[in-house]
């Protein structure tokens, strides 16, 4: 089956119905492995056990930015190729992205308290992630302000692309602005600067979070398609009556 076949919502529903159970199982297995590895990872010599917050915090931070990138691709799909499922994908990703951003902010605050002695500082990385969260909320607000889904999708797509300009700013904010947050240490020139005993569980957790996102996203897309069908049926019913 070619990828283009999935453009048909009915085929998409049938395909995801078959794939989702496997995805759920894979997510559960990788997440369990990741949690086990993270549990047995050595404590940091300075931070003690609090360093384990990282295994939640860092993957959700990656997803917070990654989901905006996914939505930007969907936005291109909506505006350029008029792909019928692109705005469904964008709409389904939005609340998930906002949730991961919130998780990142909250775990970051909880981690900051014992290590930095404060829940919140106006530091570059923290502030820019907060701005990202606000952008997610603005996008959701824009979507809920428009009645018709396909028009909402196109307007939201434009805003998503404009907002994508901020992604590199968030990525490089730790290098540009005054900061308490540590600079990039996993994805950087010259390889990761983390010992394998920490890096392996971290990457496993990242894989688990990624699978979790794919699962949630596909499920949310199914819901969105069904919701739109219900809406169309209601409209037809109303116009017939």
């Amino acid at each position: 089956m070619a990828l283009i076949d999935l453009a048909n919502p009915t085929r998409f529903l049938r395909f995801t119905e078959r794939v989702l159970p496997w995805l759920i199982a894979a997510t559960a297995i990788v997440l369990a492995t990741g949690l086990y590895l993270a549990w047995n990872a050595p404590d940091d010599y300075q931070q003690g056990a609090t360093v384990k917050i990282m295994f939640i915090h860092v993957p959700s931070a990656w997803l917070a930015m990654g989901i905006w990138a996914v939505m930007s691709l969907s936005a291109l799909g909506t505006l350029v190729w008029r792909h019928p499922l692109a705005d469904v994908a964008a709409r389904a990703a939005m609340p998930i992205g906002a949730a991961f951003t919130l998780i990142c902010l909250v775990t970051g605050a909880l981690w900051g308290r014992p290590t930095w002695g404060t829940y919140w500082v106006w530091d570059a990385r923290l502030t820019s992630v907060l701005v990202l969260f606000l952008m997610y909320l603005g996008l959701l607000a824009l979507w809920s302000a428009v009645d018709e889904p396909s028009r909402a999708g196109r307007l939201a797509a434009i805003l998503t692309l404009v907002g994508a300009v901020n992604l590199p700013i968030i990525k490089f904010s730790v290098d540009w602005w005054n900061t308490l947050h540590q600079p990039a240490s996993v994805v950087r020139l010259g390889g990761a600067a983390i010992h394998p005993t920490i890096l392996t569980p971290l990457l496993t957790m990242a894989a688990a979070f990624f699978l979790l996102f794919v699962t949630l996203h596909l499920a949310a897309m199914r819901n969105e398609i069904l919701r739109r069908r219900v809406r169309t049926m209601r409209l037809r019913q109303a116009s017939a009556a």
Binding site: V131, M135, G138, A141, L142, A145, V146, I158, N166, I169
Partner: protein
């Protein structure tokens, strides 16, 4: 395009809205500041440039929601969509008219307000210069927001939520250029770059939003 520019210009000046309202709002905001933080002159001097920037940002938001909404109400926007002039150019003309009538008066008023906030003349000249360089970016980002929210009910409420997060970089580099002594050059150039980039991108985004919104 020049006709559109002239028309918006006249409308802004004669209807008693735009031009003066922005400056007045700016003045009120700056007048409220000493009530909020106390009339402590050294403190005001320290936070003054940042407050001027914040005031300019909020004042430029004030008139944005009417930018396309008025044209939408009286049907002029439909004519602009159908006209032979590319919509992108019309958007630039409207943005320019908005910038001249609402942002430029702020820049002119800045040294005077700087005086009230106990900012040294040289520093407030710096602030005015950074505002001159940065407000085009603010206006253009705002135009995107205005175009997105034009056909929505209560779009005026949505507008600041959409626009303000996007204007964070402009604010960062604007305040950096205005406040750090001896480090004027680099942030100022970035500020100019931000304005140029938004000039290159915003008209297309705004025109696309208008087309999608009006369908």
């Amino acid at each position: 395009m020049s006709a559109l520019l002239g028309r918006d210009f006249k409308l802004a000046l004669r209807t008693g809205g735009g031009a003066l309202m922005g400056v007045l709002f700016f003045l009120v905001l700056i007048a409220l500041l000493p009530f909020a933080v106390g009339p402590d002159l050294p403190l005001l001097k320290r936070i003054g440039p940042a407050m001027l920037w914040l005031g300019a940002l909020l004042a430029s938001l004030l008139t944005l929601d009417r930018l396309f909404a008025a044209d939408h109400d009286d049907g002029a926007l439909d004519l602009m969509l159908m006209a032979r002039t590319p919509l992108e150019l019309s958007v630039i003309a409207k943005a320019l008219a908005h910038w001249i009538t609402s942002a430029l008066p702020l820049v002119v008023a800045t040294p005077l307000l700087g005086l009230m906030l106990n900012i040294e003349p040289a520093v407030s000249l710096h602030v005015a210069l950074t505002l001159l360089a940065g407000t085009p970016a603010l206006t253009l980002i705002g135009v995107i927001g205005a175009a997105l929210s034009v056909t929505l009910r209560r779009g005026g409420l949505l507008l600041p939520i959409l626009v303000l997060p996007l204007s964070v970089p402009v604010l960062i580099f604007g305040v950096a250029a205005a406040t750090t002594p001896g480090e004027f050059g680099a942030p100022f150039l970035i500020l100019l770059a931000l304005s140029l980039v938004s000039l290159a991108a915003a008209p297309f985004a705004a025109a696309a939003a208008l087309r999608q919104g009006m369908e």
